[in-house]
C-alpha cells in the first residue's frame, strides 16, 4: 500500500511477518525429520557429552561438567539453528516460492522476518527442552531468578545473529545442496574451537588465541556467567557486553547483505 503512513505500514508488515512465521512453523511441525533434526539431535548431544566425555573432562565451574556443558551445548544448538534458515531459504529461492511471494502485495520484509521469527521460536522451544533434559541429568542454575532468563535471551541473540549470516548464504547460493555441502561448513570450527565443550586451556597455544576471542566463545562464556556465576546484584559479566557487541556487529553487516540478495530474486 503505497499511500499508507508509517504506523499502518508497520502493522501491515508485522501482520505479514507473523503470517509467514506461522506458515514456517506449521511446516516444521508437520515434518518429523525436521523435529528430529532440530530437537532430538541437541538433546542427544547433551546426553552424549554429559555421559561419554563428561567423566574425562575437568572444568573450573561449580557442579562439575554438566553445569559447564549445558550453556555450551545450547550455544552450539543456537548456531546450528541457522542450518535450517539457510537451507529453507535456498530451497524456496530455487523453487520459485520466493518469486511467487514477491509477486504478491505483501511487505517486502515478510519473507526474511517470517523466516527468522519462526527459527527463533523453534530455537526457544528447543532450548527450553534442553534445559529440562539438563535438569534431569544434574544441571542446576546457580544464579537466582534473572540468570536463566538472561541465558535464554543470550541464546536467542546468538541464534538470531548466526541465522542472519545463514540467511545471506542461503539467498546468495540459492541451491540447498550447495548450501549443505559448503555453505555452512564454517559453523563447525566456530562451535567446536570454542569454550562450548572443553576448557580452552587444554588446546594448543595458537588455537587458544582464536578460541578465547571468537564470538561463539564470548556468547557461551556470557551464558555460563548468567547461568552459574552471577551473584544477585553483581554487574553483568564482561562477556555479556563483548558477546552482545559481536552479535550486533554481525547483524549490522549481514542483514543488509541478506536483504540485497533477497531483492535480486530468483
Amino acid at each position: 500500500m503505497t499511500d499508507l503512513a508509517i504506523g499502518p505500514r508497520l502493522r501491515w508488515g508485522a501482520h505479514d511477518a507473523l503470517t509467514m512465521s506461522r506458515r514456517n512453523l506449521l511446516i516444521w511441525l508437520k515434518v518429523p525429520a525436521f523435529i528430529v533434526f532440530t530437537v532430538i539431535q541437541p538433546v542427544m548431544f547433551t546426553l552424549l557429552f554429559r555421559y561419554v566425555f563428561g567423566g574425562a573432562l575437568k572444568v573450573p565451574v561449580p557442579g562439575g561438567y554438566v553445569n559447564y556443558l549445558l550453556p555450551g551445548v545450547i550455544g552450539q544448538t543456537a548456531a546450528f539453528t541457522s542450518f535450517g534458515t539457510a537451507i529453507s531459504l535456498a530451497m524456496e529461492m530455487k523453487e520459485g516460492v520466493i518469486d511467487r511471494l514477491r509477486s504478491m502485495p505483501i511487505a517486502r520484509s515478510a519473507v526474511l522476518l517470517g523466516r527468522l521469527g519462526a527459527d527463533l521460536v523453534r530455537l526457544l522451544v528447543t532450548v527450553l527442552i534442553m534445559i529440562g533434559v539438563g535438569y534431569a541429568v544434574g544441571f542446576r542454575f546457580h544464579s537466582g531468578i534473572l540468570g536463566p532468563i538472561e541465558m535464554v535471551a543470550l541464546s536467542l541473540l546468538l541464534g538470531l545473529a548466526t541465522c542472519c549470516i545463514s540467511a545471506f548464504i542461503g539467498l546468495a547460493i540459492r541451491d540447498e545442496e550447495s548450501v549443505q555441502a559448503f555453505g555452512l561448513i564454517w559453523v563447525f570450527p566456530l562451535t567446536f574451537v570454542s569454550s562450548a565443550f572443553v576448557d580452552v586451556h587444554t588446546m594448543p597455544g595458537w588455537m587458544q588465541a582464536f578460541a578465547n576471542n571468537q564470538p561463539i566463545s564470548q556468547m557461551v562464556e556470557a551464558m555460563r556467567a548468567t547461568a552459574l556465576g552471577n551473584p544477585p546484584g553483581a554487574p553483568l559479566s564482561n562477556h555479556v557486553w563483548v558477546g552482545a557487541l559481536w552479535m550486533l556487529g554481525i547483524m549490522v553487516v549481514f542483514i543488509p547483505l541478506a536483504v540485497r540478495a533477497y531483492r535480486k530474486g530468483g
Binding site: M1, T2, W12, H15, D16, T19, M20, R22, R23, L26, I27, K30, V31, E95, G96, V97, D99, R100, L101, R102, S103, M104, P105, I106, A110, G265
Partner: protein, 332 residues
C-alpha cells in the same frame, strides 16, 4: 500511444529490453493485451517468455522500455500492480507439507483477507477446482494435475483482474492438460485477462485469442492461431508408399492437390500442404490413391507443431534456440 487506447488494454509493453550480461533475453518487445482477452506467448525454452513474465509481474526490472499492467507502470507503481495481478505456473506457491485448504487459507491471510473471509474463499476455490474431496490431504500426495489446479487456485485468492500463467501444463499428462484447459477456459469466460506462456502450439490454439511467437528475445510473429497456421501453410496431409515402383504413379495421382511441386521425402513420405482443408484433402487423397490401385501407409493429417512454425518463420528449429541458451549458461 493515446491514453484511450491504454485504458482498453490490460497490458501494454513498448520496446522492452532486458539483458543478463551479454545475453539479450528480451530485445525490444512490444505487446498489447486488450482487457478480457487471452494472449498466448509461444516459444521454445530460452526464447525469453519467462523473463517477460517476470518483468510484467514486477519480479525483474526492465533495462529499457515502458511496461504498464492494469494502467500502472511496473517499476514506478510496482506495489499497486501487485494488487491487480495473479501469477501461477509450476506449483511454486504450494507448501507440499500442508493440505490444499491450509495452503489457500494461508494465501488469503497474506492478502489480508481476514480469518473468516480466507476460509470462505478457500472453500469456494476448492469447490471450483474440484479439490474439495482432497482439501485436507497434504499437497505432496496430489497428482501433477491437482497440484497445478491448486497452484492456479492460489493465484486467484484475491480475485486478480489480470492473470499470468507461465507454462501451466508443461510436464502434465494428456488428461491433466485437458483438465487444466477446461479450468482456464472457465476463468477466461468470467472476464479475467490472461497472459499464458507455452511451448505447445495446440495449447495456444485452444486457449488464446491472439498469439505472439518469441524467438531469441524478439517477437517474430503475431496474430490468431489461424493466421499463424496460414503463415506456415496450415495442415499437412502425409502418406508413404513402400513399393518404390508405385511412387511415381502416386505422385502423379495427387499432384493437382498441391500448389507446390511434390516429392518423396527421405523418410519415404509425401507431404501435401492443405491449408485449412486438411480433412477434405485427406479424403481426396484416399480416393485417388485407391482409384490408382496404390497401397499407401501412414496416411493422415498432421497439424503443424511449434517446430513447423519455427522452421517456417525463422529457418531454424526450436531446439537451436534452446541449445544456444544452454551454451550461454543463462536460465530464461
Amino acid at each position: 500511444m493515446s491514453g484511450a487506447v491504454t485504458a482498453d488494454n490490460a497490458i501494454v509493453v513498448e520496446g522492452l529490453k532486458k539483458h543478463f550480461g551479454d545475453v539479450h533475453a528480451l530485445d525490444g518487445i512490444d505487446l498489447q493485451v486488450p482487457r478480457g482477452s487471452v494472449l498466448g506467448v509461444l516459444g521454445p525454452n530460452g526464447a525469453g517468455k519467462t523473463t517477460a513474465v517476470k518483468v510484467l509481474t514486477t519480479l525483474l526490472r526492465p533495462d529499457a522500455g515502458r511496461v504498464e499492467v492494469d494502467g500502472r507502470d511496473v517499476v514506478a507503481d510496482a506495489e499497486r500492480v501487485r494488487h491487480s495481478i495473479g501469477l501461477a505456473g509450476q506449483s511454486a506457491a504450494i507448501v507440499q507439507e500442508l493440505g490444499g485448504r491450509e495452503n489457500l487459507e494461508l494465501i488469503g491471510r497474506l492478502y489480508h483477507l481476514g480469518r473468516h473471509e480466507s476460509k470462505a474463499r478457500a472453500a469456494e476455490l476448492l469447490e471450483q477446482f474440484g479439490l474439495t474431496d482432497a482439501a485436507e490431504r497434504r499437497a505432496k500426495t496430489y497428482s501433477g494435475g491437482m497440484m497445478r489446479r491448486l497452484d492456479l487456485a492460489a493465484s486467484l485468492v484475491a480475485r486478480p483482474r489480470i492473470l499470468f500463467l507461465d507454462e501451466p501444463t508443461t510436464g502434465l499428462d494428456p488428461r491433466g492438460r485437458s483438465d487444466m484447459w477446461d479450468v482456464i477456459r472457465e476463468l477466461v469466460a468470467s472476464g479475467t485477462t490472461l497472459l499464458l506462456t507455452t511451448q505447445y502450439l495446440d495449447e495456444a490454439d485452444e486457449l488464446a485469442d491472439n498469439i505472439v511467437v518469441f524467438d531469441r528475445g524478439k517477437v517474430i510473429a503475431e496474430g490468431t492461431a489461424d493466421d499463424l497456421k496460414d503463415t506456415i501453410g496450415g495442415d499437412v496431409v502425409e502418406f508413404a508408399v513402400s513399393d518404390a515402383t508405385q511412387r511415381d504413379a502416386a505422385l502423379a495421382a495427387v499432384r493437382t492437390l498441391s500448389d507446390s511441386e511434390l516429392q518423396v521425402e527421405r523418410n519415404g513420405y509425401v507431404n501435401i500442404r492443405a491449408g485449412r482443408e486438411g480433412s477434405a484433402t485427406l479424403i481426396e487423397v484416399v480416393r485417388r490413391l485407391d482409384a490408382a490401385g496404390i497401397k499407401a501407409e501412414g496416411l493422415g493429417v498432421r497439424r503443424p507443431s511449434l517446430d513447423d512454425v519455427f522452421l517456417a518463420l525463422t529457418g531454424h528449429k526450436a531446439e537451436e534456440t534452446e541449445r544456444e541458451v544452454e551454451a550461454a549458461g543463462v536460465a530464461s
